[in-house]
């Protein structure tokens, strides 16, 4: 009998086929979930083995840590996403970074009145080293560690961002936007720690109005200090760019 492609019969047949396929699809997904569950157990074992050999390496070796992070990122895994994750539980990476994040918050808070919530990455690292102490437990904190911890803090909504200024990084810990002009200003100020209006006009080719707007914003936000005792003209100093520790 010739197969008909049209008519009620055909519609019913295709509906039946669709339901069958859907059930099959249901099965397939459930099967795969089952498979994943088994694979997860095996993976857990592997991770345990790895941890027993290398857990202390991760703690002690900043470069190994960084390598670990990069490799996870390359396959689309975020080992710091949850304290409940395998990585955190078995390798202890979580506690390391989450505690570092707490310390970063505290350091930034304690210096905010001085630098308006902007600090160089190096200064942050130095201050953290001091507050973590020189005990055996205090491990080497690399700049990469800090950047990753700060990256995780972004979602908490307190304005933690990393700003790239030239070749180095600044950590911002207050909400508030810094636009292109402000970043350029910071870049210019990096060398000497301060800028003047005429310096900006000459070197960055801004008109006076624009230079004033940018510096005014910095002063208002508490990121820059005004120095009217300078010989020629007013200087704007940026405590956030001063590296090294002062009391």
């Amino acid at each position: 009998m010739r197969r008909r492609g049209a008519g009620v019969g055909a519609i019913n047949k295709s509906k039946l086929a669709q339901t069958k396929y859907k059930d099959k699809g249901y099965e397939l997904a459930a099967d795969q979930l089952e498979q994943m569950s088994k694979q997860l157990e095996t993976f857990r074992d592997h991770l345990e083995q790895f941890a027993s050999k290398h857990k202390s390496d991760i703690r002690k070796n900043p470069q190994f840590r960084q390598q670990f992070q990069e490799m996870c990122a390359s396959i689309g895994v975020d080992p710091l996403a949850s304290g409940k994750g395998f990585w955190s539980e078995m390798l202890g990476v979580g506690d390391f970074y989450y505690e570092l994040a707490v310390q970063i918050i505290e350091v930034c808070l304690s210096t905010r009145h001085r630098n308006g919530g902007l600090m160089s990455l190096e200064e942050l690292r130095d201050r953290l080293a001091v507050s973590r102490g020189r005990s055996q437990q205090a491990q080497d904190i690399s700049l990469d560690d800090i950047l990753r911890a700060v990256g995780k803090l972004k979602n908490l909504g307190n304005g933690f961002t990393v700003i790239q200024v030239g070749r180095s990084f600044l950590i911002q810990s207050i909400p508030g936007e810094l636009n292109m002009d402000h970043t350029t200003l910071l870049q210019q100020a990096q060398v000497t720690g301060y800028v003047t209006i005429s310096f900006l006009v000459e070197n960055v080719k801004w008109d006076e109005e624009r230079a004033h707007r940018a510096t005014d914003h910095m002063v208002k936000e508490g990121l820059a200090w005004v120095d009217d005792q300078a010989p020629e003209e007013r200087q704007f100093w940026f405590p956030g760019l001063w590296s090294g520790i002062s009391a």
Binding site: M36, Q39, F43, M71, S82, I174, P175
Partner: protein, 373 residues
């Protein structure tokens, strides 16, 4: 930086020049050394750095010692190399290219490492090894100590290489899991594979364990992972009292610090905290998450009333004639960020007026509304 050694300039017999670059600074780990603005020379066997002002000052590193090489945005790092420092905390060195040229150098360096030309000329090396065996092994004194350190470093080297290998294998296995989870996610999204509620919850917990972001199931299946729900309940319980003590509201960063300091171990990730807080409303708990226009995120008690705060702030403004966020924060004992939000909230209903200048942001009672003309 203790694997470098002083060297005389001429290249060895089978060593040849690969690439050179001026304006390079050496860093011991993250610390600057005095080797700045020099000529960095890459040969088939070694990496040399020469001081342009003093041609006899050259430091060298044997390429076989370089375990790992990578490029960083500002210069690039190698592990194990380092130079004329007798001991170093770091096991890596940074090369900072002041006059650019890093990409090509990096490429040449990688090539030189893969080619391993130093292995081809093994005869002179063997001869050297034999003669050193014939020398007495010095175990005491400075040399002895140095030898011990060298041995220890070598051991660490081996450990680290092994660790890197193990890590690669582990990550490969993890990748399989990631791919599988993606297939499942896709099936769910394309509705080609339906799974039950229970199975969805299981799947979510798998994703959480592996640290795989979970956009699909979150969209289509509302509720978050079990873990976050439990966490939300715990947070609400634990935070009620502290919230009452500090005026009913705490910024999320403060909550993060507070909770983790209290825990001591098994800390929460920022994401965990955020995800749990997102579920507070759905679970009908007395603590709620609030996101202000400025982007500030807080947790507050449900019983905490916005109107009361505004009335309170307006009264304070009348009393003090004007307030900045700093001043208010000290008066009311809340953080500066929250004090600022109070002033903004009061301003929004017309209870305050702002004065925005380089002296800072100051608020005044709103006489436009309250004082008769």
């Amino acid at each position: 930086m203790d694997r470098f050694y002083w060297s005389d300039s001429p290249l060895k017999s089978d060593e040849s020049l690969v690439f050179q670059q001026t304006g390079v600074r050496l860093y011991d780990g993250d610390k600057k050394t005095k080797f700045d603005r020099g000529l960095l020379i890459l040969t088939t066997h070694r990496l040399l750095w020469r001081d342009p002002k003093d041609q006899t000052c050259t430091v060298a590193l044997d390429l076989p010692l370089v375990v790992f090489l990578e490029e960083k945005p500002s210069g690039f790092a190698k592990s194990k190399p380092p130079g004329p420092v007798t001991s170093s905390v770091y096991n890596f060195v940074l090369l900072s290219f002041r006059e650019a040229g890093e990409t090509q150098f990096f490429r040449s360096f990688q090539e030189a490492l893969t080619q391993k030309r130093w292995l081809q000329s093994s005869i002179p090396v063997q001869v050297a090894a034999q003669s050193s065996i014939q020398n007495r092994q010095i175990r005491t004194g400075i040399t002895g100590i140095e030898r011990k350190m060298q041995a220890k470093n070598k051991q660490m080297e081996q450990n680290i290489s092994e660790a890197f290998e193990d890590l690669s294998k582990l990550i490969d296995k993890a990748k399989e899991m990631v791919d599988l989870s993606r297939t499942i996610s896709n099936k769910i999204r394309d509705k080609q594979g339906a799974i039950t509620e229970d199975e969805t919850i299981k799947f979510k917990s798998y994703l959480l364990s592996l640290g795989i972001p979970d956009p699909v199931t979150r969209e289509t299946h509302g509720s978050g992972a079990m873990y976050h729900m439990e966490l939300a309940k715990e947070l609400s319980r634990v935070l009620e009292k502290p919230l009452q003590e500090c005026g009913g509201m705490m910024s999320l960063t403060d909550v993060y610090c507070w909770v983790n300091r209290a825990r001591g171990m098994e800390l929460l990730s920022p994401d965990d905290l955020l995800n749990a807080c997102k579920m507070l409303e759905a679970l009908g708990l007395p603590v709620r998450l609030k996101i202000f226009d400025s982007g500030v995120v807080v947790l507050h008690l449900l019983s905490h009333s916005e109107e009361e705060i505004i009335l309170d702030t307006t009264k304070l403004l009348e009393e003090k004639k004007s307030l900045t966020a700093d001043e208010l924060s000290q008066l009311v004992a809340v953080s500066v960020v929250l004090a600022r939000e109070r002033l903004f909230a009061t301003e929004r209903v017309g209870g305050a007026c702002r004065d925005d200048s380089t002296q800072g942001l100051r608020f005044y009672p709103n006489w436009f509304l309250t004082r008769p003309v």
